[in-house]
Subunit: 307 residues, 4 copies
Amino acid sequence: VIRIKNHMAIPELSHVDLTPAEAANVTEVIEKTPAAVLGSRLFQPEDTIIELPHSIIGGKGHFTMMAGPCSVESEAHLRKMAKVAREGGATILRGGAYKPRTSPYSFQGLGEAGLKYLREAADENGMDVITEVMDEDHVDLIAKYTDVFQIGARNMQNFSLLKAVGKTRVPVALKRGMAGSIDDLLNASEYIAAGGNHQIMLLERGVRTFDNKYTRNTFDLAAVPVLQKLTHYPVIVDPSHAVGVWDLVTPMAHAGVASGASGMIVEIHDDPEHAFSDGPQALKPDTYKKMTKEVFEMRRLMDSWEA
Amino acid sequence: VIRIKNHMAIPELSHVDLTPAEAANVTEVIEKTPAAVLGSRLFQPEDTIIELPHSIIGGKGHFTMMAGPCSVESEAHLRKMAKVAREGGATILRGGAYKPRTSPYSFQGLGEAGLKYLREAADENGMDVITEVMDEDHVDLIAKYTDVFQIGARNMQNFSLLKAVGKTRVPVALKRGMAGSIDDLLNASEYIAAGGNHQIMLLERGVRTFDNKYTRNTFDLAAVPVLQKLTHYPVIVDPSHAVGVWDLVTPMAHAGVASGASGMIVEIHDDPEHAFSDGPQALKPDTYKKMTKEVFEMRRLMDSWEA
Amino acid sequence: VIRIKNHMAIPELSHVDLTPAEAANVTEVIEKTPAAVLGSRLFQPEDTIIELPHSIIGGKGHFTMMAGPCSVESEAHLRKMAKVAREGGATILRGGAYKPRTSPYSFQGLGEAGLKYLREAADENGMDVITEVMDEDHVDLIAKYTDVFQIGARNMQNFSLLKAVGKTRVPVALKRGMAGSIDDLLNASEYIAAGGNHQIMLLERGVRTFDNKYTRNTFDLAAVPVLQKLTHYPVIVDPSHAVGVWDLVTPMAHAGVASGASGMIVEIHDDPEHAFSDGPQALKPDTYKKMTKEVFEMRRLMDSWEA
Amino acid sequence: VIRIKNHMAIPELSHVDLTPAEAANVTEVIEKTPAAVLGSRLFQPEDTIIELPHSIIGGKGHFTMMAGPCSVESEAHLRKMAKVAREGGATILRGGAYKPRTSPYSFQGLGEAGLKYLREAADENGMDVITEVMDEDHVDLIAKYTDVFQIGARNMQNFSLLKAVGKTRVPVALKRGMAGSIDDLLNASEYIAAGGNHQIMLLERGVRTFDNKYTRNTFDLAAVPVLQKLTHYPVIVDPSHAVGVWDLVTPMAHAGVASGASGMIVEIHDDPEHAFSDGPQALKPDTYKKMTKEVFEMRRLMDSWEA
């Protein structure tokens, strides 16, 4: 039995023995519900809005920029990047302290030191922090430093991890997996919500298709309005991982805001060739600031249509 | 040997016996050329611009709207739809007279009668015509009525058809196939160009992926800037076929113009439920006009950044 | 209205005005029929068996081997390859006289001369011929030389071509497109059948997926039993194009016969490095003969289970 | 620096400062190594063979059958199924005690009780146990009961979990993810090997593609010989999850053994309609026993070719 605001959802009612008194209180039986009831607009038509000290994510009139380097590389470098991120209008600082790398021989992140640098650089610039959690044993530690947990694409269906962050009250940004269908993503988010944590945002970051010569993934921007029809959670786009090549990031950032997303997360670096990870997709500071200026202008234009 | 403006490209030079005089005239050997040399920016850096009586496609400062019903249904209906299309800013009227339908038992189009209605309705409204050619034996007939040949996604690698339209001097809009890679699309366009027809535009209309529950295809908008880097041909987006559901067309039209495309083709219908084909993806007149107004505003905003 | 043996299928009965007399003769209304009724097991439970002078395709107790070079390269070479093909147990000689090449600058085939060489080499070895038709204008010409038309993957939904071969009475081998779903393939075959040509076989040759580093396509062998449930047409596998690398062909040929296919088509060449096309996937004569010996043994073992 | 038998691999040698003495001991620099060096045939040409009390996995002359219900449902049911599995020639009993379910509201497994039933049922029938671990915190607990850890497709790139099982000396069966490329799978296995656990087998269970109407996934059998070229680890096929429909399992089991795999894992159930999970793909006992008899016969035929 699942309580959703003033509704109570009972998956597979036929399997449940209701007492006569309970049965009398059933006012409506919705035969066809989505599996992910807590995330469904059917039960909660109004948008979920996530409020952080420096940012509001979701709802009308807000567009949230999140930016930072792929990996936290050093305290000094992160401070520099946080300043750039903030100057471009970002209110959330991203950076990986624990990195999910394809090969075990690649740089795996600075760990707790990286978390400290993130917190400090964010505080210094009046920003919130988003950082990835890969391991349920790190949940408590990372919760001490971050404002938002990021669950990476490779862990979209790591159900143990989803349950672990679902027990916290820290907002979660859940990335769509490389082969994750829309329904898979919603069901994965339901693992978090079922634990009592309803502060969820969903990230589109490209899916894996047959065409990966010129882009790392295929950016599925139609997922933005599709998800917005089905769920009340904010939808965020990640053009950096979607394309994997810096000079495609700006047009895809434009397309991303135009698709109606509630926010964007991008990777920046002042010296991409020497970045510890994902250098080829990082925007340099000037390119980043031009891009965000344009993205905010586009969002304002779109706001004018809805007014 | 391929002549490209003031260049001459010799694929696989090692296979060619040059006379000493010829060899002496080789000024540069580019070892790594793309297979599709005629379409490559390497040999022609400037944009191909296609000029029609009422439209300019490609280059800076132009955004071309193409609209109309999926199928030509009747003379009266088409005239009505052409008027709507024009009111929304379209300068090219689309409509299928020969329809590529998955099943042989579905409506196959009105044939030459449909072509006549297209021509008349376009002329009446000061518009150009785009219509699909599926059959090399129809090339001459259709050329009498249309301003642009459309080659459908299912025929992207119908090389006999590509050669046939390559022999004409009618502009060709080549749609990317459902499993067409970027390179496949460029090589397919080269079949047209190799025949001497360089008036080519490329259409992104979604590719087939694992996720087709909520959208018909996956709209690959990163293909727009990718193609623009590789080729000088204009790139057009088709949000209607990409998503297949009308209420996703507007956000994807926004995303499409934001991606930097040179134009857009959309399907409209005043009574989608009774459309002869693809009703679910057709925009009603009012939705269409709101969408195009917004798309043109977005394009103007983007133009202001480049000025 | 479609006549199938002693059935008559009326797609979308609700759209048909039957006279009272006609309505009285309707003995059964099957609400849910597949779109491709002529190919469906629902209306024809027994296997389609295609009988050629030297080969029987389909039904129990037959496994048909088809082999030959990718392209017809010369008269002498083809005679040599035909002899090898026959020694390995093939009764159908394959070879391309008209080649669908990704690039217009690649070898496009010998044309009618190639057809003559095919017919002669086949006759000399007591074999039938299969060769690709890419162009509806070639249908009559090719029909003079071949026993089976092959429709390539890129033309699976070239509906004009399908209609053209549907008007002949020459058997057709229809290849599944790179993004062709099972339903697409059945609907495409229906275009041929609707023209009155019921001598159809379906070829699985791999589909396009995200993983194409080590194989050209992904060989979808489950399509064999899936198609055998849905349709009465024989299903043939093409391991050469599925994998694109010769040393994977033998294990995939084993897997192909084990999946229950009615036959197999493979590419052979005595000097793959100098083949005009697709050399990397060609089997050398000795490898080919070892493979076919094993494939026939496997088929005999499987026959023993059904006896 | 990675030690592999008598080799030492130094990824990215240019990044390493060797002392002159060390440099003098470098006997060979292999410029192009795969990222997953420990699993590569380049450094270990001979097959990895995993020896369990009742089973040998890998190498020539062994084909290992693994069977059991999808979920452990009850002690009595499991004992019944274990007996059936053993009668069909399986020497490893499968069964899920912790289940990775798409929805949080689906049955999640019996937990430790399920593990006990598995151990007892296996011991009673002279079998080994394979069961899934989803959570690094369960590694020690499950190690007490199982002979082989299974890592599910959704956790293929759950690097924390891979590291955790890499620290044990319990053999690991790593399933390919739904969008896992061959290289991704090898790199994931390297996370286990880098921890010192070299007892690894790789499972092909189908990948996600555009065609999922008639099968759950697309069974990529070419992955078997591809992996066998690249790595020394045994490759196992899982036809049940690949197709998801019981009547396709037998032909795909035939194709699986024919592809050259070292073993197979299948799901069985005596009452599939009431199975707690994945009933539609379970084989009933008689179908299972006929299938395994045929699979072993096919394997013996193949052994005769290599003798």
